[in-house]
């Protein structure tokens, strides 16, 4: 900046940098040795608080304290235009002293955030009832609240040329695998996008394989879940203005764990975890099994049941596959609609859709009542997974199985299962095997997958993965 420039033209040129936004405040304030320019957005900074901070700084400068500009909330550095822009856009207050050519920054953004509430899609009965909010600082504070250790490392970086989004990753230095951290860093640094809009976009970049239905990063809005996971050596990735965290490396079984397991009693926790894993199989295989049964292998039915099935299917005009698709479509439509419906009428439509039409569709003879039971049971089972991503995955997975069952019967289901498991075995999350304690088999952690074991029994530091060589391309030992 030229000294010749008057304050007025300086104000104009700064306003020009921000394209004359009306919410930008650029004011001249008098200081001990002359004037200074205060520059901030009044929409994301409290003006009254700015005044108070400036008053404190002014007193300090009059008292002639050494380093009067450096306080807990402010810092002084050499002026540069890019610094000015960065600070102001992030909601800081920039005070520019033209004569020493210094830039004083007061950190005091006041973005609107909601208070921490329990995330509505990850409810628990026992345990913490708080959730992340749309501010990365608050989210980190929620984690620091539970983890008072110096080992907890928080690193951030800015992504997206247009959006300039802050992405933060958190891990515990002494537990996390350095290779995993390195991998996350590399992948984050290689994101070259002009806009970073949401966490799902970052997840795409971070995933090992985008085309699989299985999520490789655990998305959660619960601080206790993130804390438990990073204590097992995982890394959590936050994005500013997003109320969720991505956790990796995870296994398939991580998606079936809920904080409820660990807060409840040992037997109860184990029972419900087993129940969830069983529900995975019900959700994927039950409709396919029923289709194969009524289309190919009725002989395996017990005699008493065979009479009931016979009664149910006798007057249905469609083959079992079409019948199943009608009910599946119907349930998916109700589910999709109830998400968008306003809260007061949501349950009403659910009842009308589910009960009234469900009953009418059976009475009209379009589908059999057994098929309604099968599909309803499947839909409920798919919602047992304590994670939204895995829930959608499970719901998608059953369609290829239904198709296979309607073409080839049990043979089709067997082939489909084979392909599914081969696919799952080939998946990895941050280069770690996806089915980890089962394949590759690790007896010491195997039982932890299916049972919630008592706390005092585990003596070893829990780590999600035993270290091994990174996955070779084209399959092979992991």
């Amino acid at each position: 900046m030229d000294e010749v420039q008057s304050m007025d033209s300086l104000i104009l040129s700064i306003k020009n940098i921000f394209h004359n936004s009306t919410d930008l405040v650029v004011r001249e304030v008098s200081w001990k040795d002359g004037s200074a320019l205060v520059c901030f957005y009044n929409t994301i900074t409290e003006s009254g608080e700015v005044n108070r901070q400036i008053e404190i700084l002014r007193h300090r400068s009059i008292a002639d304290l050494p380093d009067w500009g450096n306080t807990a909330a402010s810092s002084v550095e050499a002026f540069s235009q890019s610094k000015l822009v960065e600070n102001v856009t992030n909601g800081f207050v920039a005070i520019f002293f033209p004569y020493p050519n210094l830039l004083l920054t007061i950190t005091m953004p006041s973005f609107e955030t909601r208070s921490t509430q329990e995330p509505s899609n990850e409810l628990v009965i026992r345990g913490k009832h708080e959730g992340f909010v749309e501010s990365v600082d608050k989210n980190i504070s929620l984690i620091r609240k539970s983890l008072g250790v110096p080992d907890l490392v928080v690193q951030d970086l800015r992504l997206g040329e247009d959006t300039n989004t802050k992405v933060t990753y958190v891990y515990i230095e002494s537990i996390a695998d350095p290779e995993v951290i390195k991998e996350v860093e590399t992948r984050l640094e290689h994101i070259h996008a002009s806009k970073i809009m949401g966490l799902g976009q970052i997840e795409d970049y971070l995933e090992d394989s985008v085309w699989t239905p299985f999520p490789q990063w655990l998305t959660t809005e619960r601080p206790d879940r993130v804390v438990a996971n990073i204590l097992e050596g995982k890394v959590a990735v936050f994005m500013n203005h997003s109320p969720a965290a991505l956790v990796a490396p995870v296994t398939f079984f991580s998606f079936y764990e809920s904080p409820d397991d660990f807060n409840g009693r040992v037997l109860v926790g184990s029972f419900f975890r087993l129940l969830r894993i069983i529900s995975f199989f019900i959700a994927v295989f039950l409709p396919a099994f029923y289709i194969a049964l009524t289309g190919f292998h009725p002989e395996i039915l017990p005699y008493e049941l065979s009479k009931k099935v016979k009664l149910a299917v006798e007057f249905i005009p469609y083959r079992p596959m079409v019948e199943a698709l009608i009910v599946e479509l119907f349930i998916e439509v109700i589910r999709e609609a109830t998400i968008r419906l306003p809260a007061p009428i949501g349950p009403t439509i659910g009842i009308v859709g589910g009960l009234v039409i469900g009953d009418a569709i059976v009475n009209a003879g379009l589908v059999s009542n057994l098929m309604v039971i099968v599909v309803a049971m499947t839909a409920i089972s798919s919602f047992v997974v304590p994670n939204v991503e895995m829930n959608t995955t499970v719901r998608i997975l059953r369609f290829p199985f239904m198709l296979a069952a309607s073409f080839f019967g049990f043979f089709g289901i067997a082939i489909g299962t084979l392909i599914l498991f081969i696919h799952m075995m080939n998946q990895s999350s941050l280069n770690q095997p996806y089915l980890s304690p089962v394949i590759p088999f690790d007896p010491s952690r195997f039982k932890n997958v299916f049972f919630r074991l008592p706390y005092f029994k585990s003596r070893k530091q829990q780590q999600t993965f035993t270290h091994g060589a990174p996955k070779q391309k084209g399959g092979g030992k992991t």
């Binding site: 009524t294 289309g295 190919f296 292998h297 009725p298 002989e299 039915l301 005699y303 065979s306 009479k307 099935v309 016979k310 009664l311 299917v313 006798e314 007057f315 249905i316 083959r319 079992p320 003879g365 073409f407 080839f408 019967g409 043979f411 082939i415």
Partner: protein, 360 residues
Amino acid sequence: MKKLALISIACSFLLAGCWDERLYKEFTIVPLVGYDREEGELTGYHTYTTVSAPDMLSYSTVVGKGASVKEVGFDANRKIGETLDFSQLQVILVSEEMAKSNLLETFDVLFREPHNRLSSKLAVVEGEIASYMEKTEEMGLEAPDFYLKNLKTAAAHSIIPDINVNEASTRINDKGIDLFLPYIKMSESGEIPELAGVALFSNKVFSGHTLDDKESLIVNILAKQPGKFTVFSYEWKQGNKTYPITVEIARYTKKWNIHDNQIDANYKVKLSVEEFAHNHLNDEKTVKELEQFLSKEMTKDFNKVIKKLQEAKSDAVGFGRTVRAFHPHLWNEGKWQDTFAELDIEVKVKAKIAHSGILN
């Protein structure tokens, strides 16, 4: 190599396909069949389900004729315009005439087709089979359910052997043991079929001899294949009064001593008393007397049954299996059924009262 694997996987899909599809609504369940044979021609009675209205399952019977079981089925199919599905077959009734030929050869199709059920029950009926197939008012249940429930209950009470098609086939093929099947008769009023005992087979075919229900109970005990409840009743005379005593066999052991031309079969039976109005089972003397009485009566009854088996040349107990295994010279004397009929078999039962109920 990879390409080859892919192609072979793709081709494996062609091994099965929609042409294997059997839509359940296009079939009709056949839970009960009855077969009769007259002059080489097979007549089959099939009880099949019809769904006349939603929630209404009823049964009808269709008759088919032909040379084989399969042909009989096709003949019946043609008459009702629906495909009969034998995969839910629960009970197969065969006439005495039919049982006199090798059943295994007749029912070859049951083993040859993968859909067919080998756990169906087999029974021999007396006289015309047609009358057994229709539901009578006294039955209360539909005919298939009636037979199924009766056969199951009777097997639980050890009156008949719990034999299905699969076990019958092993017995028919085994030279050391003979088949015996439930024997069903029309009641005297001609209204309701009754379980009359068992039909004894001799060397793969029906011998023409039958045992009544008490005797068949004893065969089941001799063969050590009792059902859940095995109950005997005798009348015990004390002075000039008689008391009925009902005992249930709790546990028992058998020991066969086989010599040349003689078999000593010893059975040690532990009984629990179910009914005994005379009471005083705490008195050792009474118990001793009772045990002696029961041993005598049972030995008598058991020997009687053995005589009948020998008359029918039917080794339903399965002495032949032990003889074949440990006494080859006896086994090799000739056809086992003939040898068995001539053998001197003596059964000894030693009864012991182990439980006397909660009264004492």
